[in-house]
Symmetry: none
Subunit: 221 residues, 4 copies
DNA sequence: AATGAATGAGCCTTCATTCAT
DNA sequence: GATGAATGAAGGCTCATTCAT
């Protein structure tokens, strides 16, 4: 039993280490040799367990993604029957947590969604991110009212979501340069308050604009 | 002179092509051979003109940056004596323009600020980006009032700036996948309206919160 | 017993598949992994049952050889007391059959006798082919008459045998390219007729030349 | 000038060595490292000059082919206005010469036309062999008379050509095993006599059969 | 008897860089 | 000033083989 676990552990270990390196250094910069060295595994083990560096990459990403989502529930532990504003706050909290504490994950997705748009992760990202986006959009649609178009929703989504990625980047850079972090974990609650209030104000204003302009249109027509 | 011009042209050509490829494919993915092939230059020319790939990289980045700033004035052509809200609008417009039309630039910076945080571009980015950030922060500070702390300003800055990068990423991905763009150039004005209104609402709300909480604090103390 | 049978079946299966792949792709091009995958056997089974790839190779060859000889009797089902011309015809028929229908065998021998002259199969080929050659040569010697030297016999043997290998090659190439076969199975009888008549004419002519030249020599001496 | 020649010599040297090794050991068994070691070239030179091992392979083959054809004119130095029988004799002589003296060539083609029908050389072989085949077939058609079909011609071609390949194989094997050659170069003239006489007799007999059977058909119809 | 895991040697290829001209 | 040739280091991958179970 112990042995069984141990044998499976090589695979697990490699996956963990890979996950870490891919996040820190990106796909190209991370060599199989480095991973295996750190994981104390044979260099051929990667090919045995995962087939290709690419496959390992994709799996590592999924691995990290699942771990992260497990740590921070994407709804921020806000029940789905609570008012939309609170649910949005939950999403924002979860997003910030992922951005600020997820060493391996949101990082990797960033780098690879942008730095390597060759589409290595395209599909796997779509599969994992889409549900999250849909949920956020549903909340926004509710807050924006029935007259909001898809583009309206999407523009607001950008405003809500973009800061997470931005902060991820911030963290990455700081870590790499050895700088003191500007946005520290202790600030999380204050940041959630700020981003939520900011977003809700922006959304309310957007709703007003939508309804006003549609009102005009109606009068005109 | 003729020769000088011609040789200089080779240099220019290489720089242009490098710029393009570095943006599209990143540092690692772009090979000197590819650049030289496309620029119809000898493969040794790069090392001759620029010394190393790294140097070429940095120069290419500066090149792109300057080109882009020249095309889209970072203040959005809003005079510095106009009200802060309008100046913010100018910044937002310029940011969106860079995000949506800058094929080579904002792109490269993204990738390399995050995907290659080895710091190859750290310095050069600091030199070029810092002034832009300072200017934006000054506007935000004005809008947020005298009680706003540096963190307050920075949190708002994130909300204003992050969407640009987000949209850049969007464009990159769409281009690479051959998808129809969600945010098209014709939408620019509408988008500027939206982001500006959204941001101003968020900022006003933030100011209210700052002043309220500081009022409480005052009463308490 | 059951286990024994089952295990033996695995062995058999591997041998069959190996035989097929070795014939189709040659020794180097055929990987143990491929064989085991196709035979639904564990990758370690080969080394368990056969020791090394080389051993498997040799065994596979013998296997194929025996199967083929069993299918097409090398004398073409012509009794040894029939006239030499008819026995030759039998040999030619059997040779053509092996060439045209032997998917796995004559093929493998070709490739390995020539493409892999490292001598992996040298011995095993000698053991299996020599008897066939001897038999053919005996017939030829009979047809060529008592004055024929060993070289005379061997030269004629080449003319008789070479076309078989040639046609094997033909088939292989056609199969691989997906071309329609030039020499089809329905043509077998016509081909046997042709090759036999051609060979007998050639042999008769050769005999005439041998005897004429030996006549001259006699006159001279 | 001398230097120019020298620089080009590396390429030439590699090509020569490659040619030799590919012939002796085949494609798979020949490693780039081995070639470069023997040619005293850097291991990356192959990729610089030829791109791929595959490309080198194809070029090596062409190289050998041309060299060989240059050494032994495929028509055996028999003028095209001589009688068909003599032209056939010329072809047979050239074929035997290639088979018996061509160390690097006919060898390689054998191995690769059969052992590696993956088609690496398919095209290049077609281009080089086809003209030779066409010429031989034209002669045979002339000898077989107007009633001969394509299949008739091809069957005779097999009988004429196959021995060459057979003898090539013979030589290869002997060389590899260190055996004394059965067919020695001194025997060339005698062998040409034998094969020519044998072939002409076979062809005449074939013509007789063709015309006889067509005669019967005519009477029948 | 049979297997899943693991290994080490080796191969082809890429690429930034250098050098002689 | 500019280039074609050449290089060395490194990377990803394949594959036959072994070992513990």
């Amino acid at each position: 039993m112990d042995l069984n676990t141990q044998s499976s552990d090589t695979r697990e270990k490699v996956l963990d280490v890979a996950c870490q390196f891919f996040s820190e250094k990106g796909y190209r910069e991370t060599t199989i040799a480095l991973i295996c060295q750190e994981a104390q595994a044979n260099i051929a083990a990667v090919n045995y367990h995962f087939g290709t560096k690419e496959k390992l990459y994709q799996l590592a990403w999924q691995h990290a993604h699942q771990q992260l989502l497990a740590r921070f529930s994407p709804d921020g532990d806000v029940a789905p029957d609570r008012p939309a504003a609170q649910r949005l706050r939950g999403r924002i909290r979860a997003g910030l947590q992922r951005a600020m504490m997820g060493d391996a994950f949101e990082f990797g997705i960033m780098r690879n969604e942008m730095a390597n748009p060759t589409g290595l992760l395209r599909q796997v990202i779509d599969d994992t991110i889409s549900p999250l986006r849909k949920a956020t959009q549903a909340i926004l649609r509710e807050l924006l009212g029935p007259q909001a178009t898809d583009v309206d929703v999407e523009l607001c989504e950008v405003c809500v979501v973009a800061p997470w990625l931005h902060i991820t980047r911030h963290h990455l850079a700081e870590e790499h340069e050895g700088l003191a972090p500007v946005f520290r974990e202790e600030m999380l609650d204050a940041m959630v308050d700020h981003f939520t209030a900011y977003a809700l104000a922006g959304i309310r204003e957007t709703r007003r604009r939508i309804e006003r302009s549609s009102g005009k249109s109606r009068k005109r027509s």
